[in-house]
Symmetry: C2
Subunit: 330 residues, 2 copies
Amino acid sequence: MILDRIDDQALRVGIVGTGFIGAGWAVVFARAGCDVRLFDPAKEAAERGAALARDIVGRVPVAPARGRGNIRLVGSLAEAIADADWVQESGPEDADVKIRILMELDAIAPAGAIIASSTSAIMPSRFMERVPGRARCLVAHPFNPPYLIPVVELVPSPWTDPEIVERARAILSFVGQSPVLVAREVAGFIANRLQAAVISEAISLVARGVAAPEDVDACMVGALGLRWALMGPFETMDSNAPGGFAAYVGRFGDSYQDLVRDLRVADPWPQDALDRIEGALRRRRPIDELPEFNSWRDMMVARLRSLVASEQGELSLDLENRRPAPPPWS
Amino acid sequence: MILDRIDDQALRVGIVGTGFIGAGWAVVFARAGCDVRLFDPAKEAAERGAALARDIVGRVPVAPARGRGNIRLVGSLAEAIADADWVQESGPEDADVKIRILMELDAIAPAGAIIASSTSAIMPSRFMERVPGRARCLVAHPFNPPYLIPVVELVPSPWTDPEIVERARAILSFVGQSPVLVAREVAGFIANRLQAAVISEAISLVARGVAAPEDVDACMVGALGLRWALMGPFETMDSNAPGGFAAYVGRFGDSYQDLVRDLRVADPWPQDALDRIEGALRRRRPIDELPEFNSWRDMMVARLRSLVASEQGELSLDLENRRPAPPPWS
């Protein structure tokens, strides 16, 4: 099966749907040495997606032991997945369309293949129930762009075989992603729920006249984000009290519980607050500079990841040798 | 007044309370060339705080044009603030204690001095109302450690003179911090409200069996945090749709509004979920390795800030010359 093969043969990947996400997946798999076939029923979109993926994969670091994989644009869904180990559906965000695509994928894909959907918002039970091979189907939701943002949320439907989930996890780790398990279907999975909580409270602070939009953004980039680029919310709490997480909760738990009852996360988003935020953002940067800003963002994400990865290596080493960590600014 | 002086003379700063936050403030002001006096009624704590501040300030980069300031431990509150331009109260988090301290500070500090409190949780109206000079008092809430995390939340009481708020902003910017204005008193100010929203939803996801603690942390450090180290929540939305923030809200606003009604931010924190999180964190790192982890964290925060600062410089340059940003991995 796939797990036996991933160390010695090129994994065969079929990607259906070649928008930004499908093209991004192609990069992820190709830089890990996989044999990638792309298909999109819209011919122009298919060619654009394939060209984009090839362009990016020519510039990203490639898994040295495995070499660069192959990205091939094919003319039919069957050609894309006929001998695939992994099928990645990245079509439109529409449950009915996804049902039709998954039916077809399941009818054609070889018995051993895993069928994954990139959906960010549709519950797997909604579009996998009627698929005969639903036991091998699951959601693998990436972030944008997937070759820079490593997390993939794996969401099994109620009918997904637990063995398939484990294999999916192993394969995604093998190609360099960070799979996380969403054990039960919930709207927004994990990351978008956390993001929604932040966004909504942030909008409410502007709506209530507590904070200017730029000051909300400044609090993230100059305080909270400096922790969260390095560690998650639980590890942050752990590091903020000498006795760790339990001590932190013992000391601040009651205050936080009072505070969360005061939050306005579920408030509607008033239009005048949205207008003020848009105004503040446009004063900072005109719309036509967004593509350039996004190039900067992607470059910086790549550099942040290199920095953290290299220093975490140093940390493990330090801990192993029981040497104190180097001081700041050394 | 102070604003006229900050460019040509050393700003005089009196810090009352020499725990981690008071000592951290001493570093912030001393590296900006200020003349800092420290006082704490507990003699041992005072000596420990002064030694810590001097040790750190000997290692941090100093404002080159101004040279390293002076940190002096003094024996009385009066000596600390008798000729101060800025007084920073960093005493115990107890409203009654703070009322007593502020009364004394206000009685002694020169007429032109600003009196700021480091409180993270007590509303300024609660302990400033009865202070005769309440017009010059406000909260200046830093993060830990203040010399690495630049944001300072400025929270005026209802009686704070708006001119004092503007001067406080100018002085904190001058010493290299990033002041933000909390225009109306709300529990948790800005950053801790956003943090509380994330923490509470995160705990709820563990409590409901949706996610393992380590997978929640992974979603932050491998997805959301890679954006939020570079830009706030509004700028993130702005960059996630070709038409910017307004287009993003137009496209995803309704889904987010559905989603936020499903969040469980206000749920209580069940003990068994807290125990599972503590267990996951201890498997990752024993308590006695936390100090070393925190040294690593502080070093990394310093490096993240250098990286972002240097690259934002590059960005401005790029935008000015209308050259495209360099590609990732170049």
